[in-house]
Structures are given as structure tokens and as C-alpha cells.
């Protein structure tokens, strides 16, 4: 009975204080709901993520395939039927729930199509052979015993044409469901092999592409022959029908190119592929049995995964079922049939993502719950302070400490119990509603988020109820023990220092945070031991602890800060500022709780905004890092494409290499520094300086590497006068015609303005019969670029070779005289090739008499020839006045010797930028020279600087990064002279990438694509826009951001309630002060203003500190984000991105709301009658 009375008392108290307690009930409900939201929301968002992942996955990533591969000739219909029974039984009993449909396909390896009426009429040839064979056999039958019988020639086996059409043979039980007949008729199944000499060709169905490519139609006959196999294995077929897919847009049987197949009804296929014994001596054209032996066919089932059939709760079940299916199929088939699916891998990735991305959700919800609990404690304490007189009354009426405590605890228990009942519904509502609002609404289609409830929420409800009960209830303990008089004066006297500071718990919390941080740094935020990714529990606790610890530390500092603020305010004229200033400065301690509440609110909001901004910025950074620039065209020689005029372009050659020929291969980009710096997307932490500063280090002298002798821009031809120094007349007379032609072909390697290497062959040769002018056409070369050479050209190398080698020898000690090198354009300009070096045994002797050729010729005359006169020699075409340069070639050079004697521009060493790690491993310092392996070549080079991260250099297979000068590499790669007899002559290592900085990527891509020849296209086009699309938020991340904003909104609501309550209490406490102020003649508004300014000063300080606290918290959470979705480090690393405009707008809105709540609360109290106030003062 007493208990009932007590309960009655509690209920009456609750009812009487319903205004305050409804607030507590809401707070408690919110706390429990938020705790319940943890599993619900996580599961629900994960369910959306799973659905999103499954729906956006390619069929190959989720479907299950079962394969019975036949390696030899063991395919037959009987085994296929057995397999079918085995597989489909297991399928139906184990995985059909998630794979509701399946298709079966049987597919052979390639056959070649041999037309019968093409260049070779095989039927006619067979017939002719048959006739010949019959004739021989007849003749042989009529021979006498001593006559030698005539041998019968082998049968003519059909051989494929030069570029035969290849097809695969295909069948499926569902053939007719997916194919429609365009022409002809679906053939009846052939259950037995036709036999007999006159058996008709086998009816075959062909895909429309086969018909188009082979130009065959219904009724046409052709020969099908396995791509490899015995020559006698072929079959004559007749086209019965041409087919096309029923639904052209749908992939059938998981086959990419169904129309390049030939089809047989399944029964025919099984019958046709039964082993047939054929001997070569028989007439393969007139076999007794038909069919295709030695057939390699694969029977395959593709089980179509239905993403909608897999519920989030069934992830483990489906994984287990797939494993069981795979094991059972293998076991029951004796290992001959293999079942596989990539779905478990996808699910594993999903699980990892759930942990890495779900971690912050937990941590943030922990934060929100922590904040809400603090709110509860805060409001409970406020309530109790207001209830001090009542507790005093109870005590003076004989209530013991336990009774006082019990009443309050019972009251808290009722609130907690009510909250526990309501919270799950609120939580489900909250979770559901998030599906209706952006950004999750984009994924749910505006529908409420379907609430998944995998784990029981009961522990969370119970835990939440206990937490709220303790938060509200425990506040009574210090109050219940206080003396009556103290309790009576509580509402009018501010509380002293907090428990935290009194017992130095804040310092303990700091120490604990440091220990946890140390632990986390040591062992990482995510545990990946045992192949399983798990979130470290400390990682969830750490952010909460950090925020609260930070707040507690600041609480210690707050009085000093407030004193400073107060002091500053007193310096301002006007009592409305000076009075609050005095108050703040003299008595700052009581503002701690208010400040803490505001810190937590603004901190969480700032964190939410910073988190969202950082995540978004990271996506953009990652997209930019992958793309490298706005548009990146990748194709053979793409670097030579021309970017639109309004855009900046940079040619980039991508290869690999290593310093000191290390086995660690680094990614290598060869770039032109200025161009590259102008187009690359850059982030300040990628290197120590701007791209311009970093990449121009590649040119220490500030100039482009020396490529050779630059020709005038208008030059269209380069002319060289020259003559091959002939053998003497006597020697020539002795030479037979088999001796090589002494003419020398002149070759030149030039670079055009775009850096393209051109090999130009002279229009005519140097000959040994006369001085001549060798002409190089500078408007074309032997290379197949998309456009002609772009002037001005630079002569990099010049060499000669025999024009008609007649063997491997391309040079053998030939000498020439050359002079008068010049270009022809608008004017004729002499060219000095003196800057070029002689290489590979070539010697130049300048200043020799130009008559040397004639002298050599006439040096030895054939017998009986009269020595010519000087005049006669001068008239000789071999004779020239003046001097010339003698080109003295070395001894024998064959075309197998790549060292071509040539005039060649000296090549600079490579200047290399290398990443610090690769440099450290190779032991390289800036300024150090060493050999570098670039591609397959070794070059000398010098390290000129270090690089950090470089966008688009993200090949995880490579270890390290190097950047070199494209113009420096170009002559090394493409400047080396080569014999024209080698196919490598025109081979150029061209930059494969064109990086373009543009404002209109679509137009740029269109314009650049137009430069490709018809039929050609880029291998790959990477645009920042598309890359950004790939790096968009996953549903879990979207959900995370959503929950953050919900948390921030909740905290703002709590703060508003808390601040209003606090100000009401604070003003009530200071009724005496208000009374005095009013009595002194302060107007009501002035009193209100004084209190408002004071509270706003505290709020403002709290907001500023909270904002930076939130950003600091983001810093603490960075390791979570850095793990990315797959628990591997994100590249480039995530940097905190603070959108100050949005953040300030948020702080502005929150501050405005808080200021209004302060003004409202202050006005409410200041509006009281003065007599009322003064009467309160009295007591």
C-alpha cells in the first residue's frame, strides 16, 4: 500500500513538473532512440548499400557459373545430360532462392568457315580427286603383274583461306526462346547422325553477323572445320536459318557476341558431337558416318543472381550457400564440374566497407548519444537546482536521504521506462525518414528507408534506458545529501566548481585519451587480423573521449577566457556591456555548463559540416588524382594529337624504369615541364612548390634539351651535294655484276615542332658516277603520323646506307664527299651540320679537295686506257672544284649491327625527378649521376630533384615514381639512326597520352577524337568529370553524412532547450540583482539587455571554441576516412576541408536561434513585476 502511495506521489510529481519532465522524457527517448538507431540505421544503410552494390554490379560479378570443360574429345550428349541432372538438382536445393533463373549453354571452341565456292572449290576438287582416284584405281586394276601400280594421291582436305572467318558452335536448351529466325526455318532436331554417301549436308543455324561476314545465306553450303585438329575432321553444312536475338538489348546466355555464333538444336548438337571414327585412307568426303569429333565443348550454366532476392539479413546465408554449392558440385561430379561465383568476393568487399565506413557512423552516433546524455545530466541538474526548496521541504518534513533519493530515482525510472517504450518507434521513424530526405533519397527513390533489423535492438534499448536512468537519477545523489538550508538557497545561488575539476577527472580523461590515441596509432583503427576486418572498439570511443576531454580542459580555461572577455566588455562604453562584463569577469565559473553545451552543439555541427566537406573534397581529389587533368586521351601517339586552341595540352610518355637498374620498377612519365605544369591538377601537399617550380627542375639550364640543327621554318627541302668516292676505273672494270651497287641512300632523322621524330629518306641516292644533289623532302617522312611534319624541323641525325645491299652488309668502308648543305624554301639557306657529332666509326674530314672522287676514279686506269688529260678529268661528272667534306665510313656494317655510323646531335644526359622513397632505396641524392633504366634502355642521368605524389601516377604494381623531360628522352628513344631495312625504321616511341586542361571537356574530347583516322579511336579517354562520377559517395557514406546532419540538428535542438532552461534559471537566481538594477532606475529593457549580452558573450565564446573543437575532432577521425572503403589507404591522402562559408552560415543560424532563446528567456523573467522580483529578493 505504501508503495502505491509512493508511486502516486511520484506520478503526481511527474505530472506537476510535466513541462520539465516532458523535456527529460524527450531527451531520454532521443538518447535511447539514437542508441537503437545505431544497429537499425547501420543495418538499414548497409542494406541500401548492399542493394546498390548488387544492382550496380556487373552480371559477371554476381552470377554463379557452373562449368564442365572438356579438354579433349569427351563431350557427348549422355554425359551432358548427366551433368545437367546433377547441377540442376543441386542448384534447386541450394541456391535457387537467390538465383531464380538460369541458362545453360554449350559452346565449342572456334571453327573456321571454309566456303565451297570461293577461291578454291573444294567440292569440285574433291570430285576431281575422286575421278582421278577412280581412274588410277581402274588403271591399276588393269596392270600386269610386273607393272608398277600407280599411286593414288591423298584426298584434298579443305584448308582455310588466308583470313578465315572463325565461329563457335553453340547450343542451349533455351535456344529458340532467345533467337528469332530472320531467314529460313528452324531445322528439326536430328536425333541421329545421318549416314550414307548421299547424306545431305547438316542443317545449321547461323547468327546474322556470320551471315554478313561470310556473305552466305539460307541454302548455301560451306565447310566447317575445327580451328585445330586432324585434317580429315571437317563437315559440310547447309544454312537452314539466319537468326538474331529476340531482344537485341539483352545479353543472352552471358555471351558477348551471340551473332558471331553458329547454332544447332541441342539434340542435334549432342548427336553430332558423338565420336566418329574416321581413317585417313577413306574418302573423307564420302564417310559412312557424319559429325565432328575431337570437339572441345564446354557445358556451362549461368545462374542469374537476383539482387532483390537477397535480403541484407541473408548475406552470410548466401555466402554459405554458394560455398556449399561449389563444394557439392565438385564433390558429386568427381571434380570435373566447377562452380564459381564472384559474389562472395563482392560481399567481402561490402563487409569491409561496412566496417571502415560504418566505424565513423558508430563513433559519431556515440558522440551524439554522449551529447544527449550530457544534455540529460545537464537538465537533471538544472531541474534539481530548481527543486532545491522542495527537497528541503521534504527533508524538513522528515524525508530521509534515501527517501528523497528514492522519489527522484523512481521518477527517473518512470521517465526512462516510458522512453524505452517509445524509443524503438522513434528510432524506426528516424531511420525511415532519412530515406525521404537528401542525400539518401537519391538512393531510395524518395521512399522511406526500409528498416532492417538484423541484430536484436533489445540490448540497445536496455542499455539506453539504464544510461538515461543513471544520467537523470544520479544527479540527485549530491543534492539529497545537502543540508536543508543549502538546498533552500540552491535556486538563488550558483553552483561551485564541477565534479570533474574538483577531483581532477578532466586531467584523468586527458591521460586516458593520450593512452588510447597511442594505442590506436600503434595498432591501427581497423584490425585486419585473421583475414577479417574489424573495427577497433577504441576507435569508436576515442572521438567521444577527445571531444569531451577537450571540452573539460576548456572548462578549466573558461574562467580565464571569460575574465578576459569581461574585461574587454568593461572597456566599452555603456552599462549594458559593462555590467555583463563585470559579472563575467567576477564570477565566470557558473557559465561552464552553458558553454559546454554550446561547445558540444557547435562542435558536432562543425564536425558534421567539415566531415561532409572533407569527404566530398576527398572524392574530388581522388577523381582529380586518377584523371590527372581535365581530359586525358590515351592512344598510340596520342601525345601528337592537337588540343583545341582554347585549351592547354601536354604530351606525356608513360613507361617504366628504375634508378641504377634496380629491380624495383618505377612508374615513369616523360613530360615537357612547362606544358605539364600548366595542365596537371595539383594539390599543395603533392610537392614542395608549385608544379611549375617542381617540373622546371628538369631543365636546370632553363632551356629545352639540344636536339640538333634547326632548319628554317619555311624550308621544304634539304639538299646536299655529294658523290660516293668511287673505286678506280681499273677496279671497277674488274668488278663483276654481283658486286653491290655502290649507291648510298641518305637518311635523316629530324624532329618537328611537336617533337615528333621523322625518318626522311632522300629522294635520290649518292652515286659514285657523278656529283649529285641529294634531296630530302621536308614535308613528308616515312612515319605514319596523322599529320605532316610541323616546321621548323631539327636535323638530329644523318646517315647513309647502301641502297641495294644484296645481303646483310649495308656498309663496307664507303666514303663520300659532301658539301653545300642547304634548305630550299622562300630562299635557299646554307645549313651547317658542324654541330653534329660523328658516331659509330664515322669520320668526317672537312676541307678536302672536291676533286677527290674524280681523282680516285682516275687513280688507276684499266690496262690499255690512256690517262685522261686534266681537262678531261675536269669535265668528268665526278669532278668538282673547291673543297668538300669527306664522309669516311667504317668497315663492314651489317643490318644486324644497330650501331649506325652517323652524324648525330650530341645527346644530353637525362635529368630525373624521383620520389624520395625510390631515391632513398637507390641511395641517390640530388645532383648525383647514375644510370637509369627507362623502358628497356639504359641511359645516364642525373637526379635534379625529388617529387612527392603525382596525379595519374597511381600504378600500384610499380614501386616509385620518376619524371623525366620528354624532349630529353625523345632523342634517346627516337633519335638513334637505324637501317632502313629494318622494320624498326619508322617505329617511334611516341607519347601515348595527351593531357588537356579545358573548360569544356565534352567539346575537347569531340575535337580531339575527330583527329583520329576513320576506324581508329582512343584506347581510353579519362576525364575528370567521369572520374568524379566514379568517386561518388557510396550509400553508407551518404548515410553517414545524413546521420551526421541529423545528429547536428538534434544537438541544436538540445542546445536550444538547454540554453533556454539555463538562462531562465540563471535569471531567476539573480532576481536580487535584477531587483536592485530595476530599483536603481534601470529600465526593464536595459535589464534584459544586460543579461542577454552576458549570455551571448558566453555563447559566442562557446561557439568559437566549439567550431574549432569540431574541426579538431575531424582531425581525429581522419584515420578512419583514410582507410577508404576497402581498408587500403586512399590516394591522395585525405586533407581536412573546411567550407568556411557554410560553416559560418551554420554557426550564424545556430547562434541566432540561441540568441533568440536567450532573449526570450531573459524577457520572460525581466517582464515580471518589480514587486514580485523584490519580494523574492526579500527571501
Amino acid at each position: 500500500m505504501k508503495l502505491v502511495t509512493y508511486i502516486g506521489l511520484v506520478v503526481r510529481r511527474l505530472w506537476a513538473k510535466r513541462g520539465i519532465l516532458i523535456g527529460s522524457l524527450l531527451g531520454a527517448t532521443l538518447v535511447i532512440a539514437l542508441l537503437v538507431v545505431v544497429p537499425l540505421y547501420q543495418d538499414s544503410v548497409k542494406a541500401v548499400d548492399l542493394r546498390f552494390s548488387l544492382q550496380s554490379a556487373l552480371a559477371e560479378e554476381v552470377d554463379a557459373t557452373v562449368r564442365w570443360p572438356t579438354e579433349t574429345t569427351n563431350y557427348n550428349g549422355e554425359t551432358a545430360a548427366d551433368n545437367r541432372g546433377l547441377v540442376l538438382d543441386l542448384y534447386a536445393s541450394i541456391i535457387a532462392e537467390w538465383y531464380p533463373t538460369y541458362v545453360e549453354r554449350i559452346q565449342t571452341r572456334e571453327f573456321v568457315v571454309i566456303p565451297t565456292g570461293g577461291a578454291v572449290d573444294w567440292l569440285a576438287r574433291a570430285e576431281a580427286w575422286r575421278v582421278e582416284k577412280a581412274a588410277i584405281e581402274l588403271a591399276n586394276s588393269q596392270l600386269g603383274p610386273t607393272d608398277e601400280p600407280q599411286q593414288v594421291p591423298g584426298p584434298p582436305y579443305p584448308t582455310p583461306p588466308r583470313e578465315p572467318l572463325q565461329v563457335r558452335m553453340f547450343t542451349s536448351p533455351t535456344l529458340q526462346e532467345h533467337l528469332e529466325v530472320l531467314d529460313g526455318a528452324w531445322p528439326d532436331p536430328l536425333l541421329e547422325l545421318p549416314s550414307g554417301d548421299d547424306a545431305a549436308p547438316l542443317p545449321l543455324i547461323i547468327g546474322e553477323d556470320v551471315a554478313r561476314l561470310s556473305q552466305l545465306g539460307v541454302g548455301d553450303v560451306f565447310i566447317l572445320r575445327p580451328f585445330s585438329g586432324l585434317p580429315e575432321v571437317f563437315e559440310l553444312v547447309e544454312i537452314a536459318a539466319v537468326v538474331a536475338p529476340v531482344d537485341a538489348g539483352q545479353k543472352i546466355w552471358g555471351v558477348d557476341d551471340p551473332m558471331t555464333m553458329v547454332y544447332l538444336p541441342q539434340e542435334t548438337f549432342d548427336a553430332w558431337t558423338s565420336p566418329v571414327f574416321i581413317t585417313a585412307v577413306e574418302d573423307p568426303w564420302l564417310r559412312q558416318s557424319r559429325g565432328l569429333t575431337n570437339l572441345t565443348a564446354t557445358q556451362r550454366w549461368i545462374m542469374d543472381f537476383d539482387p532483390d532476392a537477397l535480403q541484407f539479413e541473408e548475406v552470410d546465408a548466401v555466402r554459405g550457400a554458394i560455398a556449399a554449392f561449389q563444394a557439392k558440385v565438385s564433390q558429386d561430379s568427381g571434380g570435373t564440374i566447377v562452380a564459381s561465383s564472384l559474389l562472395p568476393m563482392l560481399l567481402d568487399e561490402f563487409e569491409v566497407r561496412s566496417v571502415t565506413v560504418g566505424g565513423p557512423i558508430l563513433a559519431i552516433l556515440a558522440l551524439v548519444v554522449g551529447g544527449a546524455l550530457y544534455f540529460l545530466i545537464y537538465t537533471s541538474a538544472l531541474t534539481l537546482e530548481r527543486e532545491g526548496p522542495e527537497i528541503a521541504l521534504l527533508k524538513t518534513r522528515g524525508a530521509s536521504t534515501w527517501q528523497t533519493t528514492g522519489i527522484h530515482l523512481a521518477q527517473s525510472a518512470v521517465v526512462a521506462a516510458l522512453a524505452a517504450v517509445a524509443a524503438p518507434y522513434v528510432a524506426r521513424l528516424l531511420v525511415g525518414v532519412t530515406g525521404r530526405v537528401p542525400p539518401l533519397s537519391d538512393l531510395t527513390g524518395g521512399e522511406p528507408l526500409q528498416v532492417s533489423e538484423v541484430a536484436s535492438i533489445t540490448p540497445y534499448v536496455v542499455g539506453g534506458a539504464i544510461a538515461t536512468f543513471l544520467s537523470m537519477g544520479l544527479a540527485i545523489l549530491p543534492f539529497a545529501r545537502r543540508p536543508v538550508l543549502e538546498l533552500r538557497s540552491l535556486a538563488a545561488r550558483p553552483s561551485g566548481s564541477s565534479v570533474w575539476q574538483r577531483y581532477n577527472l578532466d586531467l584523468f580523461a586527458i591521460a586516458l585519451s593520450i593512452v588510447i590515441l597511442f594505442q590506436l596509432v600503434q595498432r591501427g583503427f581497423i584490425n585486419t587480423t585473421g583475414g577479417e576486418v574489424r573495427l577497433d572498439a577504441l576507435a569508436v570511443v576515442f572521438p567521444v573521449l577527445l571531444l569531451f576531454t577537450g571540452a573539460l580542459v576548456l572548462l578549466r580555461l573558461l574562467p580565464w577566457l571569460l575574465r578576459v572577455v569581461g574585461w574587454l566588455m568593461t572597456k566599452v562604453r555603456g552599462l549594458s556591456l559593462a555590467l555583463p562584463g563585470w559579472h563575467l569577469g567576477r564570477n565566470p565559473v557558473p557559465y561552464g555548463r552553458l558553454a559546454l553545451l554550446v561547445w558540444l552543439t557547435t562542435g558536432l555541427g562543425a564536425f558534421a559540416l567539415t566531415y561532409a566537406g572533407t569527404l566530398e573534397q576527398s572524392f574530388q581529389d581522388r577523381a582529380a588524382f586518377v584523371a590527372g587533368t581535365d581530359v586525358r586521351i590515351i592512344a598510340e601517339e596520342a601525345g601528337y594529337l592537337i588540343p583545341p586552341e582554347s585549351d592547354s595540352g601536354a604530351a606525356v610518355l608513360r613507361t617504366d624504369g628504375a634508378p641504377r637498374q634496380s629491380t624495383r620498377r618505377a612508374e615513369v612519365l616523360a613530360v615537357r615541364p612547362d606544358d605539364f605544369a600548366a595542365v596537371i591538377t595539383w594539390r599543395s601537399d603533392f610537392g614542395a612548390g608549385t608544379p611549375q617550380e617542381i617540373f622546371t627542375q628538369l631543365r636546370p639550364e632553363g632551356e629545352a634539351p639540344y636536339l640538333g640543327v634547326e632548319l628554317p621554318g619555311d624550308a621544304t627541302e634539304l639538299l646536299i651535294d655529294g658523290v660516293v668516292i668511287p673505286r678506280s676505273w681499273a677496279e671497277q672494270d674488274e668488278l663483276d655484276t654481283s658486286k653491290p651497287d655502290p649507291s648510298l641512300r641518305a637518311m635523316m632523322r629530324v624532329f618537328d615542332a611537336d617533337g615528333r621524330a621523322w625518318t626522311i629518306q632522300a629522294e635520290n641516292d649518292f652515286v659514285d658516277s657523278a656529283w649529285g644533289t641529294v634531296e630530302f623532302d621536308l614535308t613528308d617522312g616515312r612515319n605514319a603520323y596523322l599529320s605532316d611534319p610541323v616546321p621548323p624541323l631539327t636535323v638530329h641525325a644523318l646517315w647513309v646506307e647502301r641502297s641495294n645491299p644484296g645481303g646483310n652488309t649495308v656498309l663496307n668502308g664507303e666514303s663520300m664527299l659532301i658539301r653545300n648543305v642547304r634548305t630550299v624554301g622562300e630562299t635557299e639557306v646554307p645549313i651547317d651540320l658542324g654541330e653534329l657529332d660523328t658516331t659509330n666509326g664515322l669520320t668526317l674530314r672537312p676541307g678536302v679537295p672536291a676533286s677527290g672522287a674524280a681523282d680516285a676514279y682516275y687513280a688507276d686506269l684499266p690496262e690499255g686506257v690512256e690517262e685522261p688529260s686534266e681537262a678531261a678529268i675536269r669535265r668528268s661528272p665526278l669532278y668538282a672544284e673547291g673543297t668538300a667534306t669527306m664522309w669516311v665510313g667504317p668497315g663492314v656494317r651489317t643490318n644486324l649491327n644497330p650501331a649506325v655510323p652517323a652524324l648525330r646531335a650530341p645527346v644530353d644526359d637525362l635529368y630525373v625527378l624521383i620520389d624520395t622513397e625510390a631515391a632513398a632505396i637507390a641511395g641517390l641524392e640530388v645532383g648525383e649521376r647514375t644510370a637509369f633504366s627507362i623502358g628497356s634502355e639504359i641511359y645516364d642521368g642525373e637526379v635534379v630533384g625529388f617529387i612527392g605524389r603525382v596525379p595519374a601516377m597511381n600504378d600500384r604494381r610499380r614501386e616509385g615514381r620518376m619524371i623525366i623531360d620528354l624532349d630529353g628522352l625523345n632523342p634517346l628513344l627516337n633519335g638513334i639512326p637505324s637501317w632502313s631495312f629494318q622494320t624498326a625504321l619508322a617505329r617511334v616511341e611516341a607519347p601515348q597520352e595527351l593531357w588537356i586542361k579545358t573548360d569544356d571537356p565534352d567539346a575537347t574530347v569531340r575535337l580531339v577524337n575527330a583527329q583520329f583516322l576513320p576506324g581508329d579511336e582512343a584506347d581510353e579517354i579519362v576525364t575528370l568529370k567521369e572520374s568524379a562520377g566514379e568517386f561518388s559517395s557510396r550509400p553508407v557514406q551518404v548515410g553517414l553524412v545524413a546521420v551526421l546532419f541529423v545528429g547536428a540538428a538534434v544537438s541544436v535542438a538540445l542546445a536550444l532547450a538547454g540554453v533556454t532552461g539555463y538562462v531562465l534559471l540563471a535569471v531567476a537566481r539573480r532576481a536580487r540583482e535584477m531587483g536592485v538594477l530595476r530599483a536603481l532606475g534601470f529600465p526593464r529593457r536595459g535589464v534584459a539587455a544586460t543579461f542577454t549580452v552576458e549570455q551571448i558573450a558566453v555563447l559566442g565564446l562557446g561557439a568559437v571554441i566549439g567550431t574549432y573543437g569540431g574541426i579538431a575532432l575531424m582531425w581525429a577521425m581522419l584515420p578512419f576516412l583514410q582507410l577508404g572503403e576497402t581498408a587500403t589507404d586512399i590516394e591522395p591522402p585525405i586533407l581536412i576541408s573546411v567550407n568556411w562559408a557554410v560553416l559560418l552560415a551554420y554557426i550564424g543560424v545556430v547562434s541566432t536561434l540561441l540568441v533568440f532563446s536567450v532573449i526570450w528567456a531573459t524577457r520572460k523573467v525581466s517582464a515580471r513585476r518589480m514587486s514580485e522580483v523584490l519580494r523574492e529578493v526579500e527571501h
Binding site: K2, K395, H1179
Partner: protein, 280 residues
């Protein structure tokens, strides 16, 4: 007559920051059972401090105080609770502080009994009897806020007496009430004291009301200045600055309104209305 209160050389020093304020400076005071005493004195004389010490809310800094055999200088928490329940009843000036507004009248009276574990039937019976005694039987189930100030204070009296304490302490119990209501409350207290044997100690500023008690104890500077009843002569306290407070009734009796004349006569000072015997 047995003593219910015995104070001997009672000293109470309040600390306000670094300042020490001596509220009681060796007060000696006794009270017999069934007595109805009023304590008067100017602000800061130590009236409320004495009351709080007697109520067990404050502990004296020195001296001895015993109430109904309870040594209030040395109470354990349990003894203190017991003292609140059985030893003493309180009546505060602010009647809203005497009552829980969310309880009905009878529930307020039952509350102390509930806390003390009194059975339901006895609680109800006692509550109704008390209400009957103060003339509030018909308002037993009324809500507190619907009752007048006098009714609330009478109800508060019932609450204070619900557990039948030996001593009732009242701090300005009629401070917020009109004269008529105040008189009725005092009459009620007197009746309870004289008829019911309840010891009542009232702190008041109102000398006229104090006159209605058995004994007036005047405190000044933390000590007892005078005690007794005065019918034709009023004993007035002179403070350190020489100020004298004359009761209003005395002034009215003497026809003194706004001004008076103080004249030195043999053996004392004569206070007369202004415009009296000039030159005498």
C-alpha cells in the same frame, strides 16, 4: 513545568567568504513545554539563526542547545531525520514553501506521515482531524493553489503538526497575511498551545502579534535583551546608534502620528506628539 528548550551560551558564527558574522553571542534561553513564545528583534538580531538552530537546520558554533531531550549539537543524520519527524514542526513565512503545490490539501498533510511510515488509515484520520481543528475540513481535497493565503498557512500548520511534534517553530508565519488572518492564525496557535499542550515558538517583527503570546523574548545583537509581557509600559530596545523603534500601537495610543517631540525629564525621556507642552 518541564523544559522543552534549553540554550546555554549559544554562539553562532556565519562565514561569508572571508568575513565572519557573529549571529548569536552567548545566548541563554529556555522554554517550557506548552509555552507560546514570540521572539522579536530587529534585523540581524539573531532571531532566524536561533530558530534554525532550534529546527536542527544549523549547528551552533559553540554552546549547548537541547530540544525535547535532543542535543542538537550532536545529531547523527538518522537522529536528525527522526528529530524532523517527531521532535519539531516548521512553519515558514512563505507559505508556498510549506506546501507541495501539486498535492491536494489532505495529501500535503499525509506526506510527512507517509515518509514516517504511518499506516494509511491513521494518516487519513489524523489529517482530517487536523483539518477539522483548523477549520479546513471542507477543503480537504482542494488543490493548494485554490486556497487563500490564510487557508494555505493553516494548512501548513496542519502539515507541521501532522506527526504530533513537541515543538512548533514558526518563522514569521503571518508575514504575508493581512491583520485579520494573522490574528486568526495566532489565535489558532494560542489555542493549540494552551489546549493541546503544544510548545510554540514564533519569530515575528509584529509587536502587536507578539503581544498575543505568553512571553516575548527580545533579541539584540545575538543576545537576549529582555523578556516578559508588557501591558502599560513597553520595553524598547536601543541599538548601538541610539535608534529606538516604538511599536505602532503605542504611538497610536499616544496620539503620535508623523512627528513627535522627545523631551528629557527626570529619570527618562518623554515622547509626546508634536505641538505638546512647549516650554515644559
Amino acid at each position: 513545568m518541564t523544559r522543552i528548550i534549553e540554550c546555554e551560551n549559544l554562539i553562532k558564527i556565519h562565514k561569508q567568504g572571508n568575513l565572519e558574522v557573529v549571529a548569536l553571542q552567548g545566548l541563554d534561553f529556555t522554554m517550557d513545554r506548552g509555552e507560546f513564545i514570540s521572539i522579536v528583534g530587529k534585523s540581524g538580531a539573531g532571531k532566524s539563526t536561533l530558530l534554525q538552530i532550534l529546527a536542527g537546520l544549523e549547528i551552533p558554533s559553540a554552546g549547548r542547545v537541547e530540544v525535547a531531550g535532543n542535543d542538537l549539537t550532536d545529531l547523527t543524520p538518522n537522529q536528525r531525520v527522526s528529530y524532523y519527524r517527531r521532535g519539531v514542526g516548521f512553519l515558514w513565512q512563505d507559505f508556498t514553501r510549506n506546501l507541495l503545490p501539486y498535492l491536494k490539501a489532505i495529501q500535503n498533510i499525509e506526506l510527512p506521515m507517509l515518509l514516517a511510515g504511518v499506516p494509511t488509515r491513521r494518516r487519513k484520520k489524523r489529517s482530517l482531524a487536523l483539518l477539522e481543528a483548523v477549520g479546513l475540513r471542507s477543503s480537504a481535497y482542494a488543490k493548494v493553489h485554490t486556497m487563500s493565503g490564510g487557508e494555505q498557512q493553516r494548512l501548513a500548520l496542519c502539515v507541521a503538526l501532522s506527526l504530533g511534534p513537541h515543538l512548533l517553530l514558526a518563522d514569521e508565519p503571518t508575514g504575508e497575511l493581512d491583520t485579520e488572518t494573522s490574528l486568526s492564525i495566532y489565535e489558532l496557535l494560542r489555542r493549540m498551545s494552551h489546549d493541546g499542550g503544544l510548545s510554540v515558538l514564533v519569530v515575528t517583527h509584529d509587536v502587536a502579534l507578539a503581544q498575543r503570546t505568553d512571553r516575548i523574548v527580545r533579541l539584540a545583537d545575538g543576545r537576549m535583551a529582555t523578556q516578559g509581557r508588557f501591558e502599560t509600559h513597553e520595553l524598547l530596545a536601543v541599538d548601538r546608534r541610539g535608534m529606538v523603534q516604538v511599536p505602532r500601537e503605542l504611538l497610536l495610543e499616544a496620539g503620535i502620528e508623523d512627528e513627535l517631540t522627545a523631551r528629557l525629564v527626570e529619570g527618562g525621556i518623554l515622547l509626546e506628539p508634536s505641538g505638546g507642552e512647549d516650554g515644559d
